[in-house]
Amino acid sequence: MANKAKKSGNPPTDYERIFHPQRLAIIGVSAEASGAGFGTGIFKSITAMAFAGEILPVNPKGGSIDGLNIFKSVEEIPGEIDFAIIAVAARFVPDVLDACRKKGAAGAEIISSGFSELGTDEGKELERRIKEIAAKGIRVVGPNCFGIYCPASGLTLLPGPDLSRESGPVAFIAQSGGMSIDFAHAGKWMGVRFSKMVSFGNGADLRETDLLRYFKDDPETRVISMYIEGIQNGDSFFKEIKTTASKKPVIVYKGGLSRAGARTVASHTASMGGSGTIWRSILKQANAVQVHDTEELAQTSLAFALLPPKTFSGISVIGGGGAIGVTACDTAEAYDIEIPPLADDLQARIYDYLPKPGSSAINPVDVANPFVPPQYLKEVLLAAAEDKRIELQIIVSLLYHYKSIAKTFNKTVAEITPYKELARVIREVADKTGKPVIAVLPNAKRGVDDLDIIEMIALTKKEYVDYGIPVFDELHDAIRTVAHVNTYYGGKNHE
């Protein structure tokens, strides 16, 4: 209903004013010393993020906050507003929303709860009124959500005062606010940079399909990630995700796939076509990438953001660790990726740089010893990249071993580990050869005795991330993300 009304009467949604508002009203901000609700929380978060536009706090009691005058009503705000964040009690929300609409707001996010999620008649009625008002020409995110995060403008999720202001290519869509805030925080240290993130809660108006349609054409978004619990309309969702995935990668973590229960069916086909099976097929048919947990979602987003848009059928794996070669080959084979033995002359060249005995230059290249200097590793990577069959390289560094020699040199682990040089070398090789290099930093020592190692690894990751090098904890994660990239671009070219 809401959508129909929009199609017939209202102008197209002005997403620019929603994600990058110049004038932002926050309704439900309490004056200083009169307690701190969600409204004040989001006000403080947005201020801490150094939001780029003008903030217009509203509360019927008036007063001031952080030196800003609090308007007693939306109507009292002079001039138009672009966007509103609504954090008042549920029963006041419809009137406030309508006031925002009359003030010219292109959209509003409602972070208040107390709507259809309660299952009460009152809650459902309030949500119905929200839909009604939305249909008159204001787009609504929520209710019962954590809202929008947009690093470029400084809009942030509900408890998100310290999210990154650095923009990137990844958009994220989810009903779940908790999932959104987790991913926003994880992205910061993992190196996933976001264009926009929307947690839409009950999804009274804007939902998965509308947002897909928007991100499909959003020039700030190259990769779309989403967490889905339920969808509203299978047909329009399928069509939208299919067209979107034909333009840019769409990564989907579908929750709630456990066996759907009680439907009684007579045929074998129906009994085998449970919701999990059908979702898997639907996503395949749309050439969307299906992942199975939040970690895989983040890793896959990172890979799509940083790797060039192509498939990688042959890779090299270079690094240390006894079983690394076997693990690499087993994993790669499972994902249909080849680790071909390098050409003989290249093997000979590589062997010159490796400690002896115990090393191997075949591919996987076993460097045998975790202390091979970055400059040597650079030569190894450069040589391996000369093999035509190698399209991508993975370097596995067991940096935690540096702790064993730190004491001898009277230095901390972070001081003795040449991670800065390593990051620089990896970047140089990737740039020079045009073949991407993925870094893997396994850490077997994560207990309280080794907090210094954990710190060093975190610093290393930050260095890599700053250089735009995809970095993972485990080799398996790295290979799996390459497989996802292959599946997507393989399927796309097949179109």
Partner: protein
């Protein structure tokens, strides 16, 4: 494609209060959608047996046929590899006795020889509507669950992807002296199963099991169409 003919069969069955189509009716619906099915004749009268047998030719299969029976094998209602009129008459008598007054008849059917059995089907997903299934058929369907689905309508490419996707996809190739299965016909069959789902809302589920590959050609040997509860 003859949708009207298919719908007519379905409405007639619904009018009689049936919740499923008999094998014979199911195959007529499939045939209306250009899906290759076994050559067969439905009989109630033993006097017509000889004529029917002559038309189908030996060896043949005889089955009890009624919308009210689902699991024919377990009830002794299938007789295979019938090679002469004596065997045919015996089978007819046994099947009629087995039907025990259930409204139905005897299906005289050509026997399709082939070692490769596939399954196709259609189910309606609550979210995504009609979805088509492809997989290994016969007794392996439920044991191995080596199946794939696509949402209808299907393009040829979707149908070919479904075939590639099952673990046992190599049985469609030329293996062990068998010809490669005709994937174009298989693809058309899948597309048309999807079309039934799209065009006839009264059909809630379809099972084609087995679809046997004879030389290179797939033929639907048994079929079940489940109707929407009116």
């Amino acid at each position: 494609m003859n949708k009207d003919r298919a719908v007519k069969i379905i409405h007639e069955a619904m009018r009689r209060g049936h919740k499923t189509l008999s094998e014979y009716e199911s195959k007529q619906v499939l045939a209306a959608y250009d899906i290759p099915v076994t050559k067969e004749i439905l009989l109630k009268d033993k006097n017509h047996l000889e004529k029917a047998v002559a038309k189908i030719g030996y060896p043949l299969v005889m089955k009890g046929c009624s919308p009210e029976i689902a699991h024919k094998t377990e009830k002794g209602l299938i007789h295979v590899d019938i090679r002469n009129i004596k065997e045919a008459k015996k089978a007819f008598n046994e099947i009629m006795a087995g039907l025990k007054g259930v409204d139905g008849g005897v299906l005289v059917q050509e026997m399709i020889k082939g070692r490769r059995e596939l399954v196709m089907g259609m189910t309606r997903d609550a979210q995504f509507g009609p979805c088509v299934m492809f997989g290994l058929g016969g007794i392996f369907t439920e044991i191995l669950k080596d199946i794939s689905f696509r949402r209808a309508p299907l393009k040829k490419r979707n149908a070919l992807d479904m075939m590639k996707e099952i673990r046992g996809h190599k049985i469609l190739d030329a293996v062990r002296g068998m010809e490669a299965a005709d994937k174009i016909i298989l693809a058309d069959m899948l597309i048309n199963v999807g079309r039934i789902g799209m065009e006839i809302p009264e059909v809630s589920e379809i099972d084609l099991n087995p679809v046997i590959i004879y030389k290179s050609k797939p033929v639907v040997v048994d079929a079940l169409i489940v109707l929407e509860k009116a």
